[in-house]
Amino acid sequence: MSKLSIGGVELKSRLFIGTGKFPNHQILPEVIQASESQVITMAIRRVNLDSKEENILEYIPKDCILLPNTSGARNAQEAVRIARLARAMGLGNWIKIEVISDNKYLLPDNAETIKATEILAKEGFVVLPYMSPDLMAAKRLVDAGAAAVMPLGAPIGTNRGLKTKELVQIIINEIDLPVIVDAGIGKPSEAAEAMEMGAAAVLVNTAIATAENPVQMAKAFSLAVKAGYLAYHAKLAEQHQLAQPSSPLTGFLYEEVR
């Protein structure tokens, strides 16, 4: 599997994982190991540096890239403040922009996301914006300096899969930046599907965190992402409306007369 390059960093794993919703932080090292993920996202609003036990950073291996997110931000201004706080806290310069002002469906606000991306990219952040899959918004994010775009497959936490498949495919086809499918992926098969479509990576949280066995599920996602990636690069065979028998009924017409 070739490496994925984001913000000048080369990554072997194309599975990014989230740290929310787990029953405890102690399980995280095992989950991260099973997932082989190198990029780990966490909500700044939940990072509690005061207590060793509550501090999520204690449970993330040092060689992982931290991807703090701006979850909780309702507009560009709040997202920018949270990003700056994350950097000041020593969490590096990668930032996942989440601007959500709709608490019912948790759909991102693309316009505010573009504004925040522009400001933070200029400040030297590696900006990964979470977005509703809209081609023009994706193009504007590219112009704003995003390092990748992260369209949603379905609303956060729903595990409903790639409901936005057609729109995500258009973005993959038209955008030169890595496209990371974020949110909605509920099954390893859906992660594989996203990779087969040509996604650069997928980000999974709920599907792993709320599985009966999160460690095993992390492993399953890791394998699925690899399978999907290999399938995409092996060039998927064409699809046909009608069956194409391997022993055609009219084959005799083309056989040489013996």
């Binding site: 929310g20 919703k21 787990f22 029953p23 609003r45 939940r46 509550e54 909780g72 403040r81 002002s101």
Partner: protein, 368 residues
């Protein structure tokens, strides 16, 4: 249009007839529905007939809660600043008629309480007062918030209802969330239990959560004091109110609390019984109706019951509570608002949540 229009639309429906006409198949269809349910389907899940399907409802509520919130529970604690009150409410110890030990914290005492609470590990604080704008004017609460901001990441208020402009002042001072209970949605009972004082104004109270949303509170928490009215209709109105706010103000997190009336100083005896089973049915129906709504369970409830409620959809719990003014650090604390049931320490509650397979969270928001 305010919530009163929604209330008016439903207040005269014949609940009895609606419940009578429901079939088992209706209930099962609603529980198994793949899409969000509507208001009438929510009422069906509150019906006596739905009592036979609590386990199925619980399975569905559990799945929805897990998807939306994962295995986490936010912990917070209340801090009473004052128990002076100018209202005459038949069900509350703080009522002006009751001979209780009144107290109001000074700035030094607020700081002392803050230090005591913060040292336990709390990051989210809910401050409360009795309803006396005379004794605890807005400026007093704002001064308190300025002190408390040094110690806590998030501060909520549960005080007398305010105007939009006043809520904006609270937000500027550092307040993130508003808790305000209607106490009872039934207008007639509301008049009967609020004998005197500003609280008699049903409409001003009913619209307070919406004013908080307009002012842009981050979180608005509502509820009915269960026991003052018939629980099914009160639960229905609470759910409708949460739904109304959630739809109209999508940028505000809406939460619902389920306080049951507790022993207190006073004489109110006209209590409608709300059993454990009733409370659970309300919580399950609400979770299925509004999968993203926050659900708060306080220390009014007993420990074992609180723990069993966690997988059903609880997102927030109070711990190490004291309803006494200065109850965390001050020797001559004022009398409490009601008796709490779960008297465990924060450490014990925390351990119990872990044991249940959930993660207790202390910090869920930081204001910067």
């Amino acid at each position: 249009m305010g919530f009163y229009d929604v209330y008016s639309q439903y207040k005269n429906i014949d609940y009895h007839q609606f419940y009578e006409e429901l079939t088992d198949s209706d209930i099962l269809k609603i529980i198994h529905k793949d899409r969000p349910i509507n208001e009438i389907e929510f009422l069906a899940l509150l019906s006596p007939k739905a009592e036979n399907y609590l386990e199925l409802m619980a399975q569905k509520a559990h799945t929805l809660s897990l998807q939306h919130f994962g295995k986490t529970v936010l912990l917070y604690t209340p801090m009473y600043l004052s128990n002076y009150c100018t209202n005459k409410c038949t069900y509350c110890s703080f009522s002006i008629d009751n001979q209780i030990k009144r107290k109001q914290l000074t700035a030094e005492e607020i700081e002392k309480e803050a230090k005591a609470i913060a040292s336990m590990g709390f990051k989210h604080l809910l401050i409360l007062t009795g309803e006396s704008k005379k004794d605890t004017p807005l400026s007093y609460v704002i001064d308190a918030v300025h002190i408390l901001k040094k110690y806590f990441d998030s501060i909520g208020v549960e005080i007398f209802p305010l105007t939009v402009e006043e809520y904006q002042q609270m937000i500027e001072a550092g307040v993130d969330s508003l808790t305000i209970y209607q106490e009872v949605y039934d207008e007639e009972i509301y008049r009967k239990v609020h004998l005197a004082g500003r609280k008699r104004n049903y409409h001003f109270r009913l619209d307070a959560p919406e004013r908080g949303c307009i002012a842009k509170m981050r979180n608005v928490n509502i509820g009915a004091l269960l026991g003052l009215g018939e629980w099914r209709s009160e639960s229905f109105m609470t759910g409708l109110h949460a739904n109304y706010l959630q739809n109209k103000y999508p940028d505000v997190e809406i939460s619902v609390s389920f306080p049951r009336i507790r022993p207190h100083v006073g004489v109110f005896e006209d209590i409608y019984e709300v059993t454990d089973q009733n409370l659970v049915q309300f919580m399950l129906a609400l979770r299925i109706f509004l999968p993203r709504v926050g659900i708060t369970i306080s220390t009014r409830e007993r420990q074992g019951f609180r723990e069993n409620l966690i997988p059903l959809g609880v997102t927030r719990m109070s711990a190490a509570s004291s309803t006494e003014v200065g109850g965390h650090s001050i020797e001559d604390a004022g009398d409490g608002q009601f008796e709490i049931d779960d008297k465990r320490s924060l450490e014990e509650v925390r351990a119990a949540i872990f044991k249940k397979g959930y993660q207790p969270i202390f910090k869920d928001w930081v204001r910067i």
